[in-house]
Each structure stands twice: as structure tokens, then as C-alpha cells.
């Protein structure tokens, strides 16, 4: 390998986010936009902003970038791009164009690595049908990469954190545990196969998941990234005014994630996320400690968490399984608002 990008960072991927509780605190006094064409802003803690152009079209706009979570530049580019584009999918949209965002230490890492990262981003964007039409680079250490993405969605078919209805069942499309597996990789505690599996899931686009959400009339969904399953579920529950119950025993896990958590290989981000969720979350008395921490594991390019009416859930799940999301599973439901926003059991 030309250069091992993991030597530049202590935490990678979505683990590098600012703690969610701190972020909410900082943003709470910021004025929200007053333009009536703004359909979705940060008020509901959503994945992307939505701006209505006319009755047929709304823009979905989002950005994401982070430090390396894998050693290889090309692979980093693929994952970072999949993760950035995912926010458009999480809103039920179709991504169209994107801009590169790059921070790169030009004198400390071979510039060939820079090209490899961009190439990875370009290839993933092409797979998603997205044209990269520009970008911006500054000199910085450690390297960071991501995209600003624009997509479109029909204004009547926007999928948000606020669209979950009481009685909906919740489907998660990818197994959990990327943060733990990446930490395990750093600590040399996992097999190459376990790492490869996690990487392949991080590279997987949520494109087909978004199409299926539209087909099945899903109105509430998010993608699982830095705040972990529990953190994103909390945002969804609060955004929608329901309580979300999650049965952790039915949540699919990446091979090796449970054992790693049991060995204490729990990244710091999981503890930060726990600080955030515990105000609104009820943890069942017999909830396994490792599963609790896995629920808080920061995911990079995680799956979609979608709320679907119970009569359609089996059919949707079946189609997800047939569409390359073999690990998709029914993991919980939305019930009438209780004291706790989220119940983990």
C-alpha cells in the first residue's frame, strides 16, 4: 500500500463527530430559516435539508465529510461518498450532483493517495448516478473527505424523522457494529474476513432501500450513522412524537461485533452517544450490556431505519432481502408516546 491512512487518525469515520448532546446545546439558539419553501431544516434533526422549488420538485441538500476509517485511499473514497450520498436516500430522494470536499496534507502524504481518494468518490458517485461537478481542497492534517450532495424528491413524498406513525414497524437494512469492527481492526483483534464484510457493507449504497421506501409509502426514516441506532431512533421518536421500542435481540450484528464488545472493544463514540440518549431512553432491566453498547456504536455509512405500516412490513422486508440487503430485519415498532422516547429491550 502507498500509504496507510489509519496512521493519521485516532478515531475515524463517524466516530469523529462532535458529541450529539453538545451539538444540540450549541445549535438550540440558532434562528431557523423563515423561508416557507424550506420544508425540512435542523428543527427535526434530519439527515438533509429539503427546499421546495415547485409542486413537483424539492431539492434535498446535504453534506458529510470525515477522517479516514480504512487504510486504503480508494476504499476511503468509496465509503465516504456512499455515506454522504446516503443522506439523500434517507429522505427518500434521488441524488443528482455533488461537490468534493477535501482536506489533505500535501507535504506529508503522497499526492497519489489524494487521487485515489477522489477516484473512489467518483466511482461510488457514478454507481449512484451522481455527477461530481466540482469541489474544494485545503491543506490540512489529518486528511478528511466527503461530498456535498444535491438530489430531488417530490414535495409530497419527503421521508423524514418526523414521519413515523403510531403502529408502524421498524426495519433496519444493514447489520450494526461498524464502529466496533473498525476499532477492532485498529487493535488487531479481528479477522480479515470480518473486516472485509464490514467494509463491503459501508460501501453499499442505500439507493435501492430508498426506492423501496417510496414503493411502500414509507414516510418516516433515517440512516444510521454517527449517533448510533439508539441516537438516531431517539431523534426519530422525538421528531415524530411517538415512542420507539427496539428489540436488541432481533437486531442483526456484524460478525465479530458482539465478541469485540464483550472484550471491552467499545469505541469512545458509543459512550458519547450513551450520554446523549440516556435522558430519553428506557433500558430494559435484562438488556445485555454488550447489546446496549452496540446500539450506541457510531456507524459509518450505516443502513436505513424505516418505519412502515405493519400490513406492508413483511413484503417490504422480503424485497429488501432480495435487493442485496440480506441483513435487513424487523427490529421494533412505534407505539403511543410514553414517558421514554425510546425503549431498548
Amino acid at each position: 500500500m502507498l500509504f496507510d491512512l489509519l496512521t493519521t487518525v485516532e478515531t475515524g469515520g463517524c466516530s469523529a463527530k462532535i458529541p450529539p448532546r453538545q451539538l444540540e446545546e450549541l445549535l438550540k439558539d440558532m434562528p431557523l430559516p423563515a423561508d416557507p419553501r424550506v420544508m425540512v431544516d435542523i428543527a427535526t434533526h434530519d439527515d438533509a435539508g429539503v427546499y421546495k422549488i415547485n409542486d413537483e420538485t424539492a431539492l434535498v441538500i446535504t453534506t458529510d465529510f470525515f477522517p479516514p476509517m480504512v487504510s486504503d485511499g480508494y476504499e476511503f473514497g468509496l465509503i465516504a461518498a456512499a455515506n454522504s450520498i446516503s443522506d439523500v436516500y434517507a429522505m427518500g430522494g434521488t441524488p443528482l450532483v455533488a461537490l468534493n470536499i477535501m482536506m489533505f496534507p500535501s507535504t506529508r502524504i503522497p499526492m497519489e493517495v489524494y487521487k485515489n481518494i477522489l477516484r473512489g468518490g467518483l466511482d461510488k458517485a457514478r454507481e449512484a448516478g451522481v455527477s461530481i461537478i466540482g469541489g474544494h481542497t485545503i491543506d490540512d492534517w489529518p486528511p478528511k473527505y466527503g461530498l456535498a450532495v444535491i438530489g430531488t424528491v417530490h414535495p409530497g413524498r419527503v421521508i423524514t424523522n418526523a414521519g413515523v406513525r403510531e403502529g408502524d414497524e421498524l426495519i433496519l437494512t444493514k447489520p450494526l457494529g461498524t464502529g466496533i469492527i473498525l476499532a477492532g481492526q485498529r487493535m488487531k483483534m479481528i479477522t480479515p474476513l470480518q473486516h472485509e464484510h464490514a467494509v463491503s457493507l459501508m460501501k453499499q449504497l442505500n439507493a435501492r432501500g430508498a426506492e423501496l421506501m417510496q414503493k411502500y409509502g414509507v414516510r418516516g426514516a433515517t440512516d444510521i450513522t454517527g449517533f448510533g441506532l439508539a441516537g438516531h431512533a431517539l431523534r426519530m421518536a422525538r421528531g415524530s412524537g411517538v415512542t420507539i421500542t427496539i428489540d436488541m435481540k432481533s437486531v442483526p450484528l456484524l460478525e465479530g461485533a458482539y465478541s469485540l464488545a464483550d472484550l471491552g472493544c467499545i469505541p469512545g463514540a458509543a459512550f458519547r452517544n450513551l450520554d446523549y440518549t440516556e435522558g430519553g431512553t428506557l433500558f430494559a432491566g435484562d438488556l445485555d450490556y454488550n447489546l446496549k453498547m452496540i446500539a450506541h456504536d457510531a456507524q459509518t455509512s450505516g443502513g436505513l431505519l424505516m418505519a412502515v405500516s405493519p400490513e406492508k412490513s413483511r413484503e417490504l422486508l422480503k424485497e429488501l432481502h432480495e435487493s442485496g440487503y440480506g441483513g435487513a430485519a424487523l427490529i421494533g415498532k412505534a407505539i403511543r408516546k410514553r414517558e421514554a422516547d425510546v425503549v431498548l429491550q
Binding site: 435481540k249 460478525e255 465478541s259 471491552g264 472493544c265 422486508l317 430485519a329
Partner: protein, 206 residues
């Protein structure tokens, strides 16, 4: 007293070493953990209190020394406890824990139809066994026996009602894509399955 030195290490290494130290120490031995970074200190504290392990902290400059007190009540973390007792709430009479490992949906090899019949008959008979087995572990095509349309399902349910723990291999149900068709049992990864089999006093493999 066992000492775990995590100085100079970053997250999650200090937690991994802490966990390792707790496992390696004698059950009633105190464990002292040296930590020199605040994030790891906070995570280790959180880990210990969530797992109900009493501890004290004293600081020496930038160094914190966390002492886990296990002298009086040596308490394992909840999940460790779960693993140790996963096979049975209490040992069967004579202290023997029986675990049934079901690796196939048929009993024996040679004739498939016969194998299917025999396996059904095995479960019908297993229900009558006194005392009931501590656990039944299903893996490979064995997981299909616990599916919603399996004729063996009613017997598996009966076992569960009698207190037998039912464990189903997650990798296997993902492989067959039948996760939503399993009405009984808890999903287990290989780590848990290996622990259950290790802790068994004897294993029946139909």
C-alpha cells in the same frame, strides 16, 4: 491486587485491558487500573458502574488510579453471568447440565425422508425427558426446525415452557434468510454458542 497499566494508550485499548484484567484476576481479587487520559477514565468508570462493579478512584497528577473492589462481593458483569448460566437457571439434579446440539434438520444420514421423520420423533421424545435439557442449540439446517411451519415447533415451544433455553444461530438464519420466521428462541452468535457448549456437562447430538 492485580494492576492494569493503560498509560499512553488511547480508546478503546484501556477498556479492553480493564476487561482483560477483570477476567484474569482471581474472583475476589481487587484490580487496580492506571489511566492517564480523561476520555478513557470516563469510559472505564461508565463501564464499571453499568456493570455494577464497585470502585474507588484516586488521582496523582494527570494519573488516575481506579481500584475495582471485588473483595467482598465478587460480582461478574451481567453478561458474564448470563454466559455462565446460559445453559440452565440451576443445574439439573446431580448437577449435570444437558445441552442438545441440533446441527441438521434430519436425524442421521442415508435416507432424507426417514431422517426428517426421525428428527420429529426425537423432539416428541425429548419433551418427555426428565429433567428437561438445560438448552437446545440450533445451527446449520437445524435452525429450520424452529421455523413457523415446522412440525417440531410445538415440541420446541413445550421445551421452552418447561424452562429449556432455546438458542438459534444468527449466522445460519441470515444465511437461509428466515429471520422473521422464527417464533421461538433467542438469537445467538458463535461466541455465545461456544460458551454454551463449553459449559455443558454433556451434549446430545441427534
Amino acid at each position: 491486587m492485580k494492576t492494569v497499566d493503560t498509560r499512553g494508550l488511547t480508546c478503546p485499548a484501556p477498556l479492553i485491558k480493564t476487561r482483560q484484567g477483570l477476567v484474569e484476576a482471581a474472583p475476589d481479587e481487587d484490580v487496580e487500573i492506571l489511566i492517564d487520559n480523561p476520555t478513557s477514565l470516563s469510559n472505564v468508570k461508565r463501564y464499571l458502574s453499568d456493570n455494577k462493579l464497585p470502585f474507588t478512584i484516586r488521582g496523582e497528577g494527570s494519573l488516575s488510579i481506579v481500584t475495582v473492589r471485588r473483595g467482598e462481593k465478587a460480582e461478574l458483569s451481567p453478561n458474564e453471568k448470563e454466559y455462565c448460566t446460559a445453559s440452565a437457571e440451576e443445574p439439573a439434579p446431580g448437577g449435570r447440565k444437558t445441552v442438545v446440539a441440533v446441527a441438521s434438520d434430519r436425524m442421521g444420514s442415508g435416507d432424507d425422508d426417514l431422517g426428517t421423520k426421525l428428527m420429529l420423533s426425537f423432539f416428541r421424545t425429548l419433551v418427555m425427558l426428565e429433567p428437561a435439557p438445560a438448552a437446545v442449540v440450533f445451527y446449520n439446517t437445524g435452525v429450520k426446525l424452529a421455523m413457523d411451519d415446522s412440525p417440531a415447533l410445538e415440541h420446541i415451544r413445550e421445551l421452552a415452557e418447561k424452562g429449556t433455553s432455546i438458542f438459534i444461530c444468527t449466522t445460519c438464519i441470515n444465511h437461509f434468510g428466515i429471520r422473521e420466521r422464527l417464533p421461538v428462541g433467542s438469537f445467538s452468535d458463535m461466541y455465545q454458542i461456544v460458551n454454551i457448549l463449553r459449559d455443558a456437562d454433556h451434549i446430545i447430538r441427534p
